[in-house]
Symmetry: C2
Subunit: 227 residues, 2 copies
Amino acid sequence: MFHLESVSKQYQQGDKTVSALDTTTLDIQRGEFIAIVGPSGSGKSTMLTLLGGMLAPTSGKVWFGGQSLYDLTVTERAELRRLKMGFVFQTFNLIPYLTALENVEVPLLLRGDSKQNQRRRALELLDQLGLGDRAHHKPNQLSTGQQQRVALARTLANDPCVILADEPTGNLDPESRNQVLAFLEEFHRQGKTIIVVTHDPEVARRAARTWQMNAGGVGHLLASQTP
Amino acid sequence: MFHLESVSKQYQQGDKTVSALDTTTLDIQRGEFIAIVGPSGSGKSTMLTLLGGMLAPTSGKVWFGGQSLYDLTVTERAELRRLKMGFVFQTFNLIPYLTALENVEVPLLLRGDSKQNQRRRALELLDQLGLGDRAHHKPNQLSTGQQQRVALARTLANDPCVILADEPTGNLDPESRNQVLAFLEEFHRQGKTIIVVTHDPEVARRAARTWQMNAGGVGHLLASQTP
Ligand SMILES: Nc1ncnc2c1ncn2[C@@H]1O[C@H](COP(=O)(O)OP(=O)(O)OP(=O)(O)O)[C@@H](O)[C@H]1O
Ligand SMILES: Nc1ncnc2c1ncn2[C@@H]1O[C@H](COP(=O)(O)OP(=O)(O)OP(=O)(O)O)[C@@H](O)[C@H]1O
Ligand SMILES: [Mg+2]
Ligand SMILES: [Mg+2]
């Protein structure tokens, strides 16, 4: 499904070069559940954003479903993302002037669902994530962990075939985290491809494979694990 | 040091009332290390912000060093915070147009330190938190966990006698988290009062006492623990 072909990312910081992702080649199969782990600053968000079509590599190609993502136009890439990918950002990126419910409805609106279906689907997701009674709160009327779960609900709303989640449980207590994990595992069982960046060994444990990153964006696959 | 006297916080949501903190009475001694734990949305950030003089309660009084915080003027309260408290926000609140180093220097600048001392002190803190080579990056040129550590460094910069930290390790891998915890424990040994909100049982374990919160902001002290 994804093929990273000698992909790397550097930033220029004055006269210094920062290596965010070292030259990387990796295949991610359709329907796989893979975790990306590593220390803070090791390049996990960089790798996920490259995969998600939102950050052009300095070198190499990112293939998704047979297409070279960064050889498409910005519009083509955005359209492909809208149809196929759900991205949970590490800092949520909720729309501040919309309620939790309206935030979750946005992808459904773009999909052209009936207003009634949108509302029903969005409420169902919020409910399953323990936010049923917070549907009409705006982001600044929610706790941080509640905002994180709204971001997840929005990602799942239009049923994307690929879910890319950046630290989806970082602000959650163990119980809420397990709720989110159960969700991701259920989506995985339905055949979706799940790529999760996480610091939590408990989350990584649920994946079939783990890509371990280290300082400078150097990565490798860990020895095979049984989930 | 702190005395919460029948303190509560409610929000009006249309015709509904949301209880963020249930009526709470609690003493926190000078030099204590206390953890506040509980599920997402249970009122932890609310409690910490009330203690930190940044959110007026709906009822009751918050006493700090013998003064009723919310009977002071806004200016008096801000000054007391500046002199005595260090607050690590759950969403960091870094100044986006300043570098990591400049962000950490801000409280030192307000303290009137010499420019040379400011720079030295700030660099030392960043270095101890593993960010020595990121000093000249702006927040958007840092990973999320790196931003979190800059927020911590800024809090510690002017050596406050009370540290209030809201989820200071939520975005950190186990190793970075242990580095931060070692820092907090060192500050505690120097006689500082540490109040940490956390989802991480490993973090709570290091505190002498734990205040457990539940939905609706209802809290109680857990049976005594040995750190
Ligand atoms: N715009 C930029 N300019 C310079 N350096 C950058 C920029 N963006 C990121 N970096 C650096 O690239 C490295 C990788 O960043 P990335 O956000 O991918 O890390 P991460 O593994 O997601 O970290 P965390 O676990 O803290 O979220 C970091 O060391 C960071 O300082
Ligand atoms: N401005 C507001 N209006 C209405 N409700 C609010 C407002 N701010 C917070 N709340 C509600 O108050 C409750 C407590 O919020 P708080 O941020 O203290 O939770 P928390 O324990 O810190 O959660 P987390 O672990 O997710 O950070 C939440 O259920 C939240 O929805
Ligand atoms: Mg990251
Ligand atoms: Mg909180």
